[in-house]
Amino acid sequence: MIRFVVRRLLLLIPILFGLSILLFIWVRALPGGPATALLGERATPERIAQINKAYGFDRPMITQYLTYMKRVVRFDFGQSITLRKDVTAELVRRFPATIELSMAAMLFAVGVGIPLGFMAAKRERTWFDYGAVTASLIGVSIPVFFLGQILKWVFALKLNWLPTIGRLAPTRELVHHTNFNVLDSLLALDGGALWDSIEHLILPGIALGTIPLAIIARITRASVLEVLNDDYVRTARAKGLRTSTVNRVHVLRNSMLPIVTVIGLQTGLLLSGAVLTETVFAWGGMGQLIAGAVLDKDYPVIQGGVMFLAIVFVLVNLVVDVLYAFIDPRIRVS
């Protein structure tokens, strides 16, 4: 098992190496060079020269590449142009907010998606089933940023049940140890802050979780339908096991493989979907940082953000492969 993980981690290296080269070329492929693009209409020869010097764009390509790589290996993407902050530090500081939101979204997607798909499969070709299939097709077609707005309008503005934006009420004070607000409120033993953090998570979590929910429900349904026809499920029934045991031990567990794959893939996609959700709910996570950087052409932030999220994405998929092996002994042994 350890060897398997190590081998997969080694496979990560060429991918990240390739990505870093792409990101290097990418910034230098800008029309008129990065400095011109950065300054836009404010570009004057003096300012361009100034920027080129400051960022080393005036040096020979090969020197630039070597310095670039030396820094990338240390995960140093330099200073953000607009925020004047260290990119890596800023990404790390905001990362917990994005993870917290993604986890809330995944919790919602898995918690609702798997039971929904399972029940649809058990009631195949009934109205419940047709309804679930239709709902999931609509679910994958809803733009996150639209759903976010609608949820905000209905539950925050009209009904006033939940907060509109942010992660915590502005008046609340919370000591940040981890930047995970739920965790920090637990550490501070502050029930009010905990409830406040959770309330703030609900709407963005639902908005971000809806697409994965729809996809997970569909995959669960298809997978369970397939497993329900398998011989060992009939064996389990023939053994006189209670229906709940058959469902839990034999049907769900055996349907998990494709579900886990999809959950993994979706977790990676959540991180990029967070760019939109965070913008709608002013969440202040990595996503919002990247969205802003894209508009401001803040290249160090984009480079760092893309690299950071790509690593997370690949690592999540690695975790999925390991989980696989735990679920299916046939993979574990070979």
């Binding site: 994958v140 609608i150 309008w153």
Partner: protein
């Protein structure tokens, strides 16, 4: 099982051109699938609106002739003159929606076309040449697939700047590795099949074989991927426009930006968020429904 399927099988056997009858069979299944009918109707409706936008729109979408009616606290909703109300800039919402359909269709089709053609080209090259060419292309797709698609599109758009071209290219790029992989793997799959082996054994040249047999047989999965990807392309294009990466000219109607502009105005004019959002939703749903139906038609085993 039933009488019907036995008759169908007989028909298929009698048909001299099996491939032809397979597509005909798939076509028949598409027409009988309610998903396809609903999806197809939505697509046709959407395309008609996009194509005939100048004739259908009651007003010029860029004209802000009614700006004097706009107040910070109230924006006129649907009325007899303006069926969908006015937008925050005093323009006719319905006309903007209609022209927005045009932008969406154009961006969606162009970006998908570019992505699919480029992807198919790389996949074809990889599959046909094999060896180091194949390895190189596949490693490149690995790298591109390691970045979530919206993020990839965002970073591409960031390079090009605010324009609809940026959105087209940005949405096209994440499709390239997908189509490249798909075409390559279905080509490799086809190559294993008996008819290719037998054709090579009677001396058909490899290149002509690839062009004449392998490519047409790989088209079916491409078609499915294309119809599903169109839905994603339309949503992603709207997302980029929502984030402010669309046309630099704010007068150009784009569904994504129309939504973005109303974020601050939710309490004042929720209809301004509702209309473009629902437009994106219905269009994406149409392509999703149709793509699903095509997938089911091509592979009845998936029918669940």
């Amino acid at each position: 099982m039933s009488v019907l399927t036995r008759r169908q099988r007989a028909e298929q056997l009698n048909d001299p051109d099996v491939a032809n009858s397979l597509t005909r069979e798939a076509w028949r299944r598409i027409r009988q699938n309610p998903l396809a009918i609903v999806g197809g109707t939505i697509i046709v409706f959407f395309v008609l609106i996009a194509v005939f936008a100048p004739m259908l729109a009651p007003f010029n979408p860029r004209s802000n002739a009614w700006f004097d009616q706009i107040r910070p606290t109230s924006i006129p909703g649907p009325s007899r003159d303006h069926w969908f109300g006015l937008d925050e800039g005093g323009r006719d919402e319905l006309s903007r929606l209609i022209f927005g359909a045009r932008a969406s269709l154009m961006i969606g089709v162009l970006s998908l076309g570019i992505g699919a053609v480029a992807g198919a080209f790389f996949g074809l090259v990889a599959g046909a040449f094999g060896g180091w060419v194949d390895s190189l292309i596949m490693r490149l797709t690995d790298i591109l697939l390691a970045v979530p698609s919206l993020l990839l599109a965002l970073s591409v758009a960031a390079v090009i700047g605010q324009s609809q071209t940026a959105i087209v290219v940005a949405v096209a790029v994440p499709n390239v590795p997908l189509f490249a992989r798909m075409l390559r793997s279905s080509m490799l799959g086809e190559r294993q099949k008996d008819y290719v082996t037998s054709a090579t054994s009677v001396g058909v040249r490899r290149r002509s074989l690839v062009m004449r047999h392998v490519v047409p047989n790989s088209l079916a999965p491409m078609l499915v991927q294309a119809s599903l990807a169109l839905s994603t392309a339309i949503i992603d294009a709207a997302a980029l426009s929502f984030l402010g990466l669309g046309s630099a000219d704010p007068g150009v109607p784009e569904w994504g930006r129309m939504l973005a502009n109303t974020t601050r105005l939710l309490n004042v004019a929720p209809h301004l968020a509702l209309f473009p959002g629902v437009a994106i939703l219905i269009t994406a749903l149409g392509f999703n429904l149709f793509g699903e139906a095509v997938r089911e038609a091509l592979d009845p085993k998936l029918r669940r």
